[in-house]
Symmetry: C2
Subunit: 323 residues, 2 copies
């Protein structure tokens, strides 16, 4: 029987598992809730038990697998296969992950951070179409990403490579970022960042707009509300989307002016705005890229949705394929 890969996407709410072919096809998938009680000490044992149970269920053994890959929040030590400071898992201190899973399950194990792993997934069988040069940007509660250049995930000297959310897009009058700087992409391009932009722009907007009325009223306005209103021709909402797509277009253009990837793939919850968002980011991207890059680097929407994590995690494990 053809060998398989096992991908694990460890999140604060659920742990997702997938059994994949070596070509990246998801053959089985399942999920368990993340039990982060008691400093998250149940998480790794729960994962081990779930793997064992499902291998038995599917009539598989460890010999059917090339390897296991995992994406995790927090600071990942790829050599030691540990995770530190994953606060949504209650893993403040360094947690042994790979050594435990390898000992219990008997399959080689690899781990990387969740945004990098999602980037690998989109690159492998998603919008990246297995090209060696792909940049992934994920727009969610924060802005994260991963850079794959010349076929390698770029970690940098201290593992901070691919932290695209901290590119400075507003060097002189930017919003405060959680990182301590001002004007990071994350402050204006995350779900909360778009709403922050809306509040700032509402102060000087004088026309009538349902979105502005909601903001002035203190209602809970989401980035989705703003995109929906913009698509319904609310001109205030459109001006917010213009500003957001300026920042994202500028940042993706500068990434591409440095790296000339085949594509920059936009994913995460905010990317649900789809082609309406992509085309407007692309217009700014084209304005700020130089000709060679403009002609060759594309702005794409992510294709794998929630499966990017398990697929990218499985692709991490493909390093154990022999020969």
């Amino acid at each position: 029987m053809a060998k398989k890969l096992l991908g694990i996407d460890l999140g604060g709410t659920t742990v997702k598992f997938g059994i994949l072919s070596l070509e990246g096809e998801v053959q089985e998938k399942w999920a368990i809730p993340t039990n982060s009680l008691e400093d998250g000490k149940h998480i790794v044992p729960d994962i081990v038990a779930s793997i064992k149970r499902h291998l038995e269920l599917y009539g598989l053994t460890k010999d059917d697998f090339v390897g296991i890959g995992m994406g995790s929040p927090g600071a990942v030590d790829r050599q030691e296969k540990t995770v530190t400071g994953a606060f949504n898992l209650n893993w403040a201190k360094t947690q042994q992950v790979g050594s435990v899973i390898e000992a219990e399950v008997g399959i080689p194990f690899a781990i990387d951070n969740d945004a990098n792993v999602a980037a690998l997934g989109e690159r492998w069988v998603g919008a990246g179409a297995n090209n060696p040069d792909v940049v992934f940007v994920t727009l969610g509660t924060g802005v994260g990403g991963g850079v794959i250049a010349d076929g390698n995930l770029i970690h940098g000297v201290a593992g901070a490579g691919g932290e695209i959310g901290h590119i400075i897009v507003e060097p002189e009058n930017g919003f405060d970022c959680t990182c301590g700087n001002k004007g990071c992409l994350e402050t204006v391009a995350s779900a909360t960042g778009i709403v922050r932009l809306a509040h700032q722009m509402a102060e000087s907007y004088e026309g009538s707009s349902p979105i502005k009325a909601s903001l002035d009223n203190g209602d809970n306005v989401t980035s989705k509300d703003i995109f929906d209103a913009a698509q319904s021709d609310d001109s205030f909402a459109n001006s917010i989307v213009d500003r957001f797509t300026f920042y994202l277009g500028l940042a993706t253009a500068n990434i591409s002016n440095i790296l000339n990837p085949d594509s920059v793939v936009i994913g995460g919850g905010v990317s649900a705005a789809g082609e309406f968002l992509r085309s407007r980011v692309e217009a700014n991207f084209q304005k700020y890229t130089f000709p060679q890059v403009r002609k060759t680097t594309q702005i794409k929407l992510a294709e794998l949705g929630n499966d990017a994590g398990i697929i990218g995690a499985a692709s991490l494990a493909s390093q154990f394929i022999e020969g």
Copy 2:
């Protein structure tokens, strides 16, 4: 006898040659003038003749060499080993380089563009200290560079990777760039860019300053004059250096926020301003990098000067080392 590498740095004025040990030590070097007459058709034959003559002079044969590497201006096709559009060599059309040299000299040959090759040199035995993640920025008549990430030179999908001069640092009111865009780093951080900034800032500067007087007088002011005046406490010159180092600090910070290299190495003619320039770039770099990058990525001055080209070219040839 230990095997050697041959590095060639092809420029518009001279062709530099170096014979290096496998460890990157320059054992012999020489140069010939670049004869770009008659569509540059003499250049490759001149290189072949010079190599043959010097091998004989030093009592060496082709069997003493692992390979030859070359850095060239223009658009380099690494697979075909050809160069197109190198206008300072009068090579407008595609020029066969590698096939001729390999056939005539009998040593495996590799080629890449000159800025990438200089980056490889600084990374190998210069300021990069052979780290796998190094970014090189060269400030000369233009602004160029090279990105080495996870040990690989990053070319991108169309070979435009590392074109750091076209990062946009002034998205809304920038100067026109030769690439057709506005606000590229090159428009404010090249030797001519600094003088362009000076002219712009002279219009609104009201104090007295020898540099402002020279500009207003229509004298020929160079970037060196501006740095020299700034070091002599000309406050107008200092405000130009502040603006220049803001742009360069912002650009190097954003590169590092994406890639987290071990170091960003600054070279080229403008970098002759030395520690005075480096420390002021670093102050801006630290302002615009997020904490993990600020703590781990360093701003360094290039160390190899004019030898970066032959050393980097030689390092290209180390791909032919067997095993």
